[in-house]
């Protein structure tokens, strides 16, 4: 068993980055995730592993530092919360366009605008549908515990390098701020510069080592046919993700007549709703998407063949519910229940909504 610690989600993700052997973190403070950079600057990972931590002058600068370093094959990450992620979108679009691996953590707070520092899940569209300009997607992982905040760092980098694509860990203020027991993985070795050059030298801009041809990192092509081919290539990566790397969890769905679809902290709340419903003899199950892109369409399609209705529960005015509806494709009823503005729903009110909107309706 690994080392056990009691930690906040934000601290767990920071510690996991150090242990993952991340080479660089570039960030800018914003509530409710400032603990990430505070933890990193306190831990001084340059002494533990040689990891670079830099507080940038803005989120714009931070994401472009990430872009530069990711283009050299280094393992790099940033974190922020909603308004900061909005500012990063230009850079994220460049990173997706030039096919660079990196990890972006969003500890979501309520919006729009400066909104609130309280938790929210209203960045679902921004995270899963592109976010910045152009046709692209991020691979999006949604942790629902402090343990997953830590574990998903390794998974995120695995996907980032498998697809050479930016990966987002879409968390929220509840998961970022709450304390739970977490089992930490052992320290991984950072790659040496020579190892990075050996592994990624075919594309990374590390200097023309050994006199090889130059490498170029760019998202620009003025030739429309080449640009279209590049776009088709990007889309093929997203199709491959849908085939190979969809992740989800089903809770008590075997005999379920009704399904709540919920991710992140809403999934935690929805687990409690199962208990309330089953006490009353209502067969409720939960499907928890772990990847929001690619979205678990197939398992939802399968469930739609045998259940009576779905309730999408999310702390937003209704964003993920659109993907649930697309998957269910009119076969059975799909409704949404959500709170926003930073209000976290209670299991009791979700249960009431289920009865009113799905079971009774």
């Amino acid at each position: 068993m690994g080392e056990l610690k009691l930690m906040k989600g934000n601290e767990a993700v920071a510690e996991a980055m150090i242990r993952e052997g991340v080479d660089g973190y570039f960030g800018y403070p914003i509530t409710p995730q400032s603990e990430v950079i505070e933890y990193l600057t306190t831990e001084e990972p340059h002494k533990r592993t040689g990891m670079v931590v830099l507080q940038a002058e803005s989120e714009l600068a931070a994401i472009n530092m990430l872009y530069g370093a990711a283009g050299t094959g280094k393992k790099v990450a940033t974190s922020s919360s909603s308004p900061g992620i909005s500012l990063k979108q230009e850079g994220i679009s460049y990173i997706a366009g030039s096919e660079l691996p990196c990890v972006i953590i969003n500890v979501v707070r309520g919006g729009p605008g400066l909104g609130t520092i309280q938790p929210s899940q209203a960045d679902y569209f921004q995270a899963t549908k592109g976010g910045g300009h152009g046709d692209y997607h991020l691979y999006v992982l949604a942790p629902s515990s402090v343990q997953e905040m830590a574990d998903f760092v390794e998974d995120a980098f695995e996907m980032a390098f498998k697809y050479r694509t930016p990966v987002m860990i879409l968390s929220d203020g509840v998961i970022g701020q709450m304390m739970e027991k977490v089992e930490l993985k052992p320290q991984k070795k950072r790659l040496t510069d020579a190892e990075v050059i050996k592994k990624y030298g075919s594309w990374a801009t590390v200097g023309r080592v050994g006199g090889r041809e130059r490498n170029i990192i760019t998202s620009l092509d003025l030739d429309s046919h080449k640009m279209e081919a590049h776009n088709i290539h990007l889309q093929s990566k997203y199709e491959q993700m849908k085939k190979e790397d969809v992740r989800y969890e089903e809770l008590q769905t075997e005999d379920a007549e009704y399904i709540i679809v919920a991710y992140g902290s809403s999934a935690r709340i929805s687990q409690k709703v199962i208990q309330l419903a089953r006490k009353d003899g209502i067969k409720l199950g939960v499907l928890r998407p772990i990847t929001l892109f690619p979205f678990p369409e197939k398992p939802i399609q399968e469930l739609a063949k045998r259940v009576k209705g779905f309730l999408a529960v999310e702390m937003s005015a209704g964003q993920m519910v659109e993907d649930v509806k697309l998957a269910v494709n009119g076969k059975v009823k799909v409704e949404h229940y959500g709170r926003n503005g930073g209000i976290v729903p209670t299991p009791g009110e979700v249960y009431e909504a289920l009865k009113q909107k799905i079971i009774g309706g």
Partner: protein, 261 residues
Amino acid sequence: MEIKDIIKPENLVYQKTKMMTDNTLSYCPGCGHGTTHRLVMEVVEELGIVEDTIGIAPVGCSVLAYEFMNVDMTQAAHGRAPAVATGIIRTWPDKIVFTYQGDGDLAAIGTSETIHACNRGENIVIIFVNNGIYGMTGGQMAPTTLPGMKSSTTPYGRDVALMGNPLKITELVAQLPGTYFVTRHAVHSPAHVRKTKKAIKKAFQNVIDKKGTQFIEVVSNCNSGWKMTPVKSNEWMVENMFPFYPLGDMKVDGKIVKDLH
């Protein structure tokens, strides 16, 4: 004598650097960008640092610098080159990283990235081509456009009461503790080309010696944007740009060597 009798190795006095590719330059004939590219690449060749050099191309006419400079390059979003360079130099402290940027890129949309990279003293070379205009997008006003100067968005001349004053960003960064060598040059005459090259070489040597930020402004022409012939644009530059942007060193070896006010 025939031409083939002249083209012989023993007669060679000057050769195009191998650090420039054979791709046809996308610049207008007469533009200072091409010369500046060549000088940077000659320096990389002469210092023998190609295996360690990483360049950052901006958004502007030199967006395609990576097509011409035969080194590893990353194309940055508009204004963000100093941040991109920071990400690289922080994770590869022994590499040689330079940015190549126009005045709109460096002194308008990227002012924050420029000032903070310089203030942190990132160990990079910044090549700043100041032609007083947005060349790429068709000659609009830049932060460096002179008072009274015409552009497509100041068709009656820059009215400073309305559009604000030109920004002398080089004078500004010279005052930041992180900059080590700050200097202003031009490439319109052979003598100036030689001086500029010397400065670029010194800047790259300083980065090899890990001295911090090296900032080289090249006051240049944009004959297309200024709507002049190349020759006329150079004359106009000497008469109008140089009095406002005087050539010479501002900071050498970390010490300010000129009254910046």
